[in-house]
């Protein structure tokens, strides 16, 4: 019985949990990358995958508190980062060097994150099955 079940799972890919990391490198507005990255993140969470997010370079601006987009007539989607917890997406890694280069600290961010060094970020990426960068 168990064997049959395993075979079905393997065949359909059901029950497979891979480590997905979404790497965000771009500012939240100016291009659509950050928003469309977030859309994939939400879908992958629905597939019960082991999802984590990495923020580096200008991507750290995606998590900055107090975003106001009224003047550019673009939707402020930053509240969605707060909702990620409800999708069991709780691993948010922010690169320390990228924060420092922009004069930001963890207190400037709108969600709890783990601040890691560039070297630690490399190790985290190494441990993934799928890395998708935007």
């Amino acid at each position: 019985m168990t064997d049959t079940r395993d075979e079905i799972d393997a065949e359909e890919g059901a029950g497979v949990v891979k480590k997905f990391m979404f790497v965000n490198r771009k500012a939240p507005y100016g291009t659509i990358y950050a928003l469309e990255s977030l859309e994939v993140v939400l879908i992958s969470a629905a597939f019960d995958q082991d999802v984590s997010l990495a923020f580096l370079d200008d991507g750290v601006y995606q998590l900055v508190k107090g975003q106001d987009t009224k003047a550019i007539e673009v939707k402020n989607f930053s509240p969605t980062y707060r909702a990620l917890e409800g999708y069991d997406v709780e691993k948010l890694y922010v690169e320390r060097e990228s924060l420092a280069a922009r004069g930001l600290t963890e207190d400037d961010l709108l969600v709890p994150v783990q601040v890691v060094s560039a070297a630690e970020m490399a190790e985290l990426m190494e441990a993934q099955d799928v890395v998708i960068g935007f």
Binding site: G13, V16, K18, F20, I32, Y33, E36, E39, V40, I43, S44, A46, F47, Q49, D129, V130, V131, I132, G133, F134
Partner: protein, 119 residues
Amino acid sequence: MKFGLLINEGPYNHQAADTAYKFARAALAKGHEIRRVFFYNDGVNNATRLTEPPQDDRHIVNRWSKLAEEGGIDLVVCVAAGLRRGLVEDNLAPGFRISGLGQLVEAGIEADRLVVFGD
């Protein structure tokens, strides 16, 4: 090896679509399997049949259609990204199909490697 490909940039504007195509051809020539090619972001513009480049240039859209026809490759365009950019069934080139982002996640799960072609 089973590959999944993700293409995030539009044709002609960016090298990503060309490199992805070359990669797909090279992988197939080596006997690998291309499990799926997923088009996202401006990458959805690879799938419009309205594309008409100058005659002395490569035809990126037709190249994909031919790859799908010859190799039975599954070319999937993200429905939400497509709608944003005016890419719908009416102007979809042969060999492509429109579906959801779940198809990208599924490709990531099923393929041995998901290779991203973007900026």
